[in-house]
């Protein structure tokens, strides 16, 4: 009795600690974003007066709104392409035997551990000479090359979970390999597809290194990079509070996405496929 109660208390204490560790910085930024003018130096956690001023500043600046448009656009495009390619690649990796399969997987893994900063400079030079510098495409390509391996790994794990018989049954029922893939495997791997999509979206959305090195203007600069160019209300004040407001704004879509797709990321969709 007492031990179970004590373990329970321990669990609760631990949970509170971890949640606090994760949430306090976020709350801090939120609270900062509502502080008006010089209120950020008030030495208190909460603002003295709650104000929307910083949000107005942020949305009034072209820098932020175009950056937001760039971020949303590029993230969506990169995610879509990445997930489609990853679905096909993961299927091949998990189901088909082809020469060089291990090599492909090894290279994919190697790319994910490769430090991003190491290729930023070469890419900068290359992109400048072939005209991709400061364009959406110039950012989407490196995003793809970094997010694809991750997505392939996630999806391959999901595909492996789907019983072989599903496909074989479809083939016997008269499906071509493509039909079996489209009508049976992909629907069954939906949770995996969503997981991969969200992970890819986050990776792209949060990118800073490529965003700052491969852009020079508002034409393609994403939000995280744009925040570095942020200016306050006057040239002489630190733009801490507006940056906090911008950070909150870019965090919202991510939070919404997670809440939205949480339901989709439920495992156990294959329940009932085979005798369980």
């Amino acid at each position: 009795m007492s031990t179970s109660r004590r373990t329970q208390a321990g669990w609760i204490a631990g949970a509170i600690l971890i949640i606090a560790y994760a949430v306090i910085p976020v709350l801090w930024i939120v609270s900062l974003s509502f502080k008006e003018g010089d209120d950020i130096t008030n030495n208190a956690f909460l603002p003295t007066v709650w104000s929307w001023e910083n949000y107005r500043t942020v949305f009034a600046s072209d820098l932020f709104t175009t950056a937001l448009r760039n971020s949303v656009g590029m993230a969506l495009i990169a995610t879509t392409i990445s997930v489609i390619l990853a679905t096909l690649a993961a299927y091949a990796v998990s189901r088909l035997n082809f020469p060089g399969k291990r090599l492909v997987l090894g290279v994919a893994l190697a790319i994910t551990v490769f430090p991003v900063i190491a290729i930023a400079t070469p890419l900068f030079n290359l992109w400048r000479s072939i005209g991709l510098y400061d364009t959406w495409l110039g950012l989407i390509i490196p995003y793809l090359s970094y997010s694809l391996p991750l997505a392939v790994y996630v999806l391959a794990a999901f595909f492996r979970e789907i019983p072989w018989e599903m496909e074989q049954a479809a083939q016997v029922d008269g499906a071509t390999a493509w039909q079996a893939f489209r009508r049976v495997i992909v629907p069954l791997a939906t949770p995996g597809v969503f997981t991969a999509a969200i992970l890819t979206f986050f990776a792209v959305w949060n990118d800073f290194v490529f965003g700052i090195t491969l852009t020079s203007s508002e034409a393609a600069r994403p939000v995280p990079a744009a925040l570095a160019f942020f200016q306050g209300a006057s040239q002489f004040s630190q733009p801490t509070a507006p940056i906090a407001a911008a950070a909150v704004v870019v965090t919202i879509p991510v939070v919404v996405l997670v809440l939205l797709f949480q339901r989709k990321i439920v495992a156990g969709l294959t329940n009932g496929a085979v005798k369980g």
């Binding site: 049954a169 479809a170 083939q171 009508r183 069954l188 496929a273």
Partner: protein, 419 residues
Amino acid sequence: MAAIEMRNIVKEYGDGFKAVNDVSLDIADGEFMILVGPSGCGKSTLLRMIVGLEDITSGDMVIGGDRVNDKAPRDRNLSMVFQNYALYPHLTVFENIAFPLRLQKGIAEDEIRRRVREAAEMLELNEHLDRKPANLSGGQRQRVAMGRAIVRSVNAFLFDEPLSNLDAKLRGQMRTEISRMQRRLGTTTVYVTHDQTEAMTLGDRVAVLRRGFLQQVASPRELYEQPVNMFVAGFIGSPPMNFLPAVVDGDRLKLPLFSVGLPAAARGRVADGQLLIAGLRPDHFEDARLLDSAKRERGAVFRARVDVTEWLGDSQYAYIPFEAGEVTKQLAELAAELDSEALRTQLVVSIDAMSRLRENHEGEFWADTGRMHLFDPRTGENLTRDEAAAADLAQLEQEKLRERMGSPGTASDEPVARR
């Protein structure tokens, strides 16, 4: 509907292991063929080669006159019920059954709905059509899998141990259902199982496989009464056939518990003093006290101590231990190959349920030695197989099938099977 012919089918894996070895088998149009054998005998592999999920190393697979070796599964026009059903979990029961029809181009939605309803009707699934497989019971899932198989008109149905995931009671019911369905549709069927009862009751003919080799293809009755070798004899029948060492002594045969005259069929094929293995089924025995004298004369009577008895209400088994001597090891090997374990050599005897034989007491038994088989211990060959009787049984089976296929009102009026 079509006949399936297999000519010298071989399946060799990359490591040189032959899962199926030179199997030739003709399955007639409308026939219900059972593939049976202990685990690892290649029966499922053979089935998967018919359907096209497994490549054929060599040999010819001919379905309805076409060689299909190089055809994809979808071009063979077969339907299969998998052991684990392989239902599509994201689709409703209706869509699961409709799936094969939707893949065929040019079937109107009305037609699809009509055919699915008919198949569902036949399997009593109509009230479950909107449910997902996850919400169905094991038996219902099994029926959905069958519905998906019968909804199109195919050349043949293939079943891969379809009932092995059901509990015993349901298995019995579904077995009858499958039999009834096959008789109604008249579609050629190949059915893989390791279950004795399914093999004996469902099939027109049964093919027994051992380590990739075809042992015997015959009607259940012929397999039971005239097995070609010790393997088939031991595999078919439950409880299995008793094997006893038998030594030829002049024109007598000495067994551990009794001796009998050497059967006529074996005369001239065995030498004096040769060690043979005698096979007697449990139901070839009887409690001698409950026997009329006319019958008593036909067999051998012996006294033995009963170790254990099992009373099952309608039948009763008595276990009599004996020493197998030289052949002990060989019998143990055979038992292991048949997926069972011979912990001790014992005679399983089926006696009348009325018999009051008590454990650990001596009883008097009668053995119907006229139905005894003798096997060569080295080759396992049956020395006493009655070819004439076997031919009679085969003839009988042929007639039964012909009668069923020829009679009006079997396949022709069945809407589901209509093209």
